[in-house]
Amino acid sequence: MAISLPFRRKRDAHLPDDERPPTTRRLDPLPSAKFRAEREGDWRRLEELLGRAERRSAAALTDEELLALPTLYRATVSALAVARETSLDRALIDYLEGLSTRAYFFLYGVRGRIGPRVRQFFRHDWPAAVLALWKETLASLLLLAAGTLAGYLLVRADSGWFMALAGGMSQGRTPDSSTQQLRDVLYKGGTDGLELLAGFLFTNNAKVALLCFAFGFLMAVPSTILILMNGLTLGAFLALYANHGIAGELTGWLFVHGTTELFAIVLAGAAGIRIGWAVAFPGRLSRMDGMAAAGKQAGTVMAGVVVMLFVAALLEGFVRQLVTTEWLRFLIGGTMLALWLAYFYGPAGRRP
């Protein structure tokens, strides 16, 4: 580089080395540095409290500390506003932005103890969300009924359809099974490995329901197909048993848990349809906002569907195998249905 240096470099040996000015006196602090020194303690305290609260939960803080949190947050945010106007210390502004953001999301984000949130969910949020989806629920129910009817009629007309419709669910039941074999499945009780069965049924059904919901994203087309197919399988079984004249017994067998389980799947389908509708016809909202609103509402319903399926699995795994009296089966299933209806469409969801 051929530039002439306007200052002398140390390497130039002929020049004296000790021209360092003797002044090592400190400057008066800048106003912005004073500003920082006065408030730094608050920021550090906020950072420490946040760290502790985020690591464990809000319960890790004492009442006094919890009360201090919003005050410290507001102090920090206003310090940030002042610093932006008066300070040019980039690192300080970055720090305050980061800290304010963290505190903001702690104070305004997901929070609160899990207990009251769960209680609120059961007392109001869940039934209210289900109630709000009544139209979609009706549509979903009609789809299921249509599928069942179609499956029933097809298998009644030609029992060759059964394997195609029931597929893997048949558990060894085929059109060639004898009436006695079919009847055995319904009444051969026993307690062997029931909890395993319940566990399996629960996870399996929950998966189906989650898919019904999640597929709603694709304009609900796969959701509706899933529900229709569920109906077809159901109808095929009914027809198979009807061919042997024991459809009533099958209904009783299904009724114990079916009222809960099918209700749950209908609700999952309704949630899927709700989302699909919001995607296809957003109406006055933007497509994104419409989808987000539908997604939240449907998310609440889905949390409830998982609970319902858990109940259904318990009924299916234990009660159905232990109770082999037919009228009792109808009674249990009917009671469950009445309870769900009263819960969802009764006063619980209408309370503000």
Binding site: K10, R26, E97, D125
Partner: protein, 290 residues
Amino acid sequence: MSARIPRETKRVRMLVTPEGVPLPLELADAGQRAGAFLLDILILFGSIIAVTIFLFFVAKAVPGRATDRAAILLWTIGLFLLRNFYFTWFEARPRGQTPGKRALGLRVIARHGGRLTLDSVIARNALREVEAFLPITLMIQTLATQGYDTLIVLFGLGWTAIFLFLPLMNRDRLRAGDLLAGTWVIRVPKRPLLPELSAHAEETEFTDAELDAYGVFELETLEQVIRQAHAPAVATVTLTICQRIGRQHWSDDGGERDLAFLQAYYAALRGRLEQKLLFGKRRADKHDRT
């Protein structure tokens, strides 16, 4: 560390707090999100394998059908819970981040900074079932039972690709779950409070003319150079400043002395610019003539 990367303004959204102070939120980019997801998947698979091995040994150690059944039951339910609630559980906590997101400094928030509800977290994670888990299990099942079936694998890959590339097709880098739940994933890097630079400055007199050579942009660059204290950079910057303000200085090639000089100049320049700031004059950079 806090090297001030010129923020890609396209990915920054301003959130105005109820106190009326705007906070910049930096949306996570697709790479960071993919990294966090991969980490979480590894943790998930790791825990599933660990649980399986553990239950297997328990069942071996304590013979009897009851233990076997209990082990299988625990395994079924444990797997279900892990698969469906791993993400939900972590994201519903105050941090709003799974271990993978935490490692990459990401967190989930409600769009536009509102309150993130449990429903949104459930909705965004239920969709993972369709986005990722369904095609993955489909492919694994095909490989395990029927051997290699090109059609199914291709279908699975195509399916995943649609959802995989969705974040690249919208401005906010949203995946399907975010669209549905109305959520954003933002970066929340840990920023420590760095020491006050002007506190260590030595008293050095600079004339107003010397200080008027630069503006805010140069000041912030200077701050970065001092904080990093990278010797060649310090030497170059010292040289440049001395040339510009026409001051003689003993350089020690980026050593203590140069640093002390820069600190002194930084403190003086900041003092002057901040003083002007009080009168509402902001000098953006050295080309700013106002």
